[in-house]
């Protein structure tokens, strides 16, 4: 975990407090709390996790365990846009590996990584359930179906 100084400064203890309180400070809501925190910061800053652990009166190890077990959580700052390349079976047999390779090449970043300018984070994801449109790439919330690898550059350019 190496959040940059600038990011750390952005964390408002009052915001974390409000999130935890909105779940009635229940430890069983830990996953939902982490989802809300990530919804705010796009990743889970260490300070936020420590504060949540304290407020829920559970050990930090438990919070860390949950935060690292589930794939939805990120411990490092993320890009402004998240590109998810679907690696479901239908996409796999319809050229998704080629597509992923192409995007990685265009962005010069490995799957799981973030571009140095923090514009894009690239992820391989399990089936997004749009198999009829394989291969599928999801940028933020937007789905791009039947995407051809020679359209990748144009797609990436369309994001500011």
């Amino acid at each position: 975990m190496e959040p940059t100084q600038a990011r750390v400064d952005l964390i408002e203890p009052a915001e974390i407090e409000a999130i935890v309180a909105s779940h009635n400070r229940q430890p069983r809501a830990l996953i939902a709390i982490l989802q809300d925190i990530q919804g705010k910061y796009r990743y889970l800053p260490r300070e936020a996790l420590e504060q949540a652990a304290e407020m829920l009166r559970i050990p930090m190890t438990q919070v860390y365990g949950v935060a690292t077990f589930y794939k939805a959580f990120h411990l490092k700052p993320r890009g402004r846009h998240t590109i998810k390349v679907c690696m479901g079976t239908a996409c796999h047999v319809s050229g998704a590996p080629l597509l992923l390779e192409r995007i990685a090449q265009e962005l010069k970043v490995e799957p799981g990584g973030t571009t140095p300018d923090r514009k894009f984070s690239l992820e391989e994801v399990r089936c997004v359930g749009c198999c009829g449109l394989a291969p599928v790439v999801v940028v933020d919330e937007e789905f791009h179906g039947k995407l051809r690898h020679d359209r990748v550059r144009r797609l990436l350019r369309s994001y500011a």
């Binding site: 830990l30 399990r126 089936c127 359930g129 198999c131 009829g132 449109l133």
Partner: protein
């Protein structure tokens, strides 16, 4: 609002039906845009927005635009349905905003069907819900040359029970669900049946768990009911993780109340007071729509205290998953609901005895719950009349992969696999040859072409080394390398293994390593033996379903495609020309017209040549990424076998 009673519910239904009627006092036309995730991904939002804007700017009166969930035929999205008074509905496919404007102008306003954009006419639903099996549409469709929707190959073999409201209702409006007969089964269960009678009816139906394992639902409920304890829970497992499967997503998005109604009926039968919908993090639309459904059910008095004046109280909440495949396993899922790391535990005790927080808990899959209301309404015997001896009713499948019509289908159990692939699916895409059909996701297996006449039911699929699974059905053509496919599934389970037990954690890793060696062209005959041995060990020794079934893709492909493994190992040859060390790329001079497209795509400048002249591919530089083959429109960049290491 006042207390909801069964009589009030019927009154509401009548009212909703009146409101929906087109003609004299109502609207003169209705346009329904189908907005599942697939539809939206294909541009349904633009179709909807364009349509709404046109109506507004044109000052068009009396035309209602509404939305519904997935219409089933994903490969033809976006789709919309047009309804005019006294005429059968017309379904359009492959739309965009411009085409929708044309339909609005010609069909909606002038009454002339736009035939070249229309898919078919009439309802797709045959039989199941309203009049029991065998119902037929009236003969004349009133639209001359258009085929009836129910006669199209994609729809005609389908029987809709779980998907009964497909394309007919707005999933964000409880009144739409009630209009189509919703919550009638709940009213009947709560006011006319004892919990034991509900259980008997579900047992009579023969309904088995649609999540994959196929345990008898009525039996599960009975065990849970008979477990001692004053507090019990019900859970809807919507953590649909199998790649290639989207039945649950579609159902939750298109008809959340159908699932909820089933759950409330189940809760009444079991004696549970609280329920959880555990839904995958990757399904934002499903999460939203189930949340809305719960709110509306609460406001309408169909959830909460003293439901329909029966004295039975029940409420439910939505839990958003964290993105871990293993949480589809019921004990891991429960740990996740409790806010913990989702690791499975040993069974017994089973959840029906000791589930959430140690209390008796019934966990059923989305589709299982959705089947419950029709069973209560039409009776278990009716449901049991559909399907085969041991697999009753229907099953929803997502038919995807290298197939012409991909989409969501609901068919009677026992239907031959061949009919699904060739009639409903329209055969293999781009005229290629069928190699196999993969069912059951990473826990399932590959069924080869020669076994395609197999009737689809739990037992028969298991016999051939596949499983029913949750319903993903992936059509695979001859461009797919079977070793690569086995490796794909194994990599999946390997990375999703929670790491708790050694056979799964280490065994799948070793199996993956062996497959990689084979794909690299370095496999030996001994590797094949080891692979089979390890597969058996992982199967026997793993703690939960994930590990116990992880070797299935390897075992089934070894069983049916042994020659393809042999080709890799013995002859260092990949028959599908996929494994990179065993192929090389070359430009076929007689086909190349020098368009330069491939050269521009090549990331390593391995392709050279001037415009309009035959290009040259330098295999020393080539990294075999395949970008060139994918863009060449003249099939001039060819792949050919080469002995590995050369």
């Amino acid at each position: 609002m006042g207390a909801m009673t069964p009589i009030e519910l019927e009154r509401m239904r009548e009212e909703a039906r009146r409101e929906a009627r087109l003609g004299e006092n109502g609207p003169r036309a209705r346009i329904i845009v189908h907005m599942g995730t697939c539809g939206i991904a294909s541009g349904a939002q633009k179709v909807l927005d364009g349509c709404a804007r046109e109506i507004e700017t044109g000052g068009i009166q009396g035309v209602v635009v509404s939305t519904s969930g997935c219409a089933g035929l994903c490969s033809r999205e976006p789709m919309a349905t047009v309804e005019l008074p006294g005429r059968p509905p017309v379904k359009y496919a492959g739309l965009d905003a411009g085409k929708m404007r044309r339909i609005l102008k010609e069909h909606v306003l002038a009454g002339r069907v736009v035939e070249e954009l229309a898919l078919g006419v009439g309802e797709e639903r045959r039989g199941a819900q309203e009049a029991g099996p065998g119902e037929k549409l009236s003969g004349d469709n009133g639209y001359g040359g258009l085929p009836r929707l129910a006669d199209l190959d994609f729809f005609k073999h389908q029987t809709l029970i779980a998907l009964r409201n497909r394309g007919r209702i707005d999933p964000e409006k409880i009144r739409d669900y009630i209009r189509e007969g919703g919550y009638r089964a709940l009213a009947r269960a709560l006011t006319q049946m004892t919990p034991q009678e509900v259980i008997s009816e579900v047992k009579r139906s023969g309904l088995r768990g649609r999540g994959g394992a196929g345990f008898t639902t009525g039996m599960k409920w009975e065990l849970c009911r008979n477990s001692p304890g004053s507090e019990k829970f019900v859970v809807c497992n919507g953590d649909e993780g199998d790649p290639g499967a989207f039945m649950d997503r579609s159902l939750l998005e298109a008809d959340p109340h159908a699932v909820l109604e089933g759950m409330v009926i189940g809760a009444y039968a079991i004696g549970a007071s609280h329920g959880f919908f555990y839904i995958r993090d990757e399904y934002p639309l499903a999460l939203k729509r189930v949340g809305t459904a719960l709110e509306q059910a609460r406001e309408t008095g169909l959830l909460g205290a003293d439901i329909l004046g029966s004295g039975f109280s029940f409420d439910a909440e939505v839990i958003r998953g964290g993105g871990a495949f293993v949480c589809g396993e019921e004990t891991a899922l429960m740990a996740s609901i409790e806010g913990l790391v989702g690791r499975p535990r040993q069974r017994p005790p089973y959840p029906v005895e000791s589930g959430l927080w140690g209390k008796p808990t019934t966990i059923n899959n989305v589709e299982t719950w959705a089947n419950v209301p029709p069973i209560i309404e039409h009776g278990g015997a009716w449901y049991a009349s559909i399907g085969t001896e041991k697999s009753k009713g229907t099953k929803v499948f997502s038919l995807v992969g290298n197939v012409v019509n991909s989409g969501l289908l609901e068919v009677p159990m026992g239907i031959p696999l061949r009919r699904i692939v060739y009639e409903i699916g329209g055969g293999v895409r781009e005229g290629r040859k069928l190699k196999a059909v993969q069912t059951g996701g990473p826990s399932g297996g590959c069924i080869p072409e020669r076994l395609l006449d197999l009737p689809v039911d739990y037992e028969r699929l298991t016999e051939v080394g596949a499983i029913m699974g949750s319903g993903g059905m992936i059509v695979i053509d001859d461009s797919v390398c079977i070793v690569n496919l086995a490796h794909y599934f194994l990599s999946f389970t390997q990375s999703e293994s929670c790491g708790k037990c050694t056979p799964c954690r280490a065994g799948t890793w070793q199996m993956k390593r062996i497959l990689e060696r084979i794909m690299e062209g370095e496999g030996t005959a001994r590797d094949l033996e080891k692979l089979a041995e390890l597969a058996e060990a992982v199967k026997l020794g793993s703690l939960c379903g994930l590990g116990q079934t992880a070797p299935n893709p390897v075992l089934s492909t070894l069983r049916y495609f042994g020659d393809e493994y042999e080709a890799h190992v013995r002859h260092k040859r990949c028959p599908a020309l996929v494994c990179k060390p065993m192929i090389r790329f070359r430009i076929e001079a007689s086909l190349c017209n020098g368009c330069q497209v491939c050269a521009r795509q090549c990331p390593v400048e391995a392709i050279t040549g001037v415009k309009n002249e035959v290009h040259y591919l330098d295999s020393e530089k080539c990294t075999k990424c395949g970008f060139c083959t994918a863009v060449c429109q003249f099939d001039a960049v060819v792949k050919e076998p080469v002995a590995a290491g050369m």
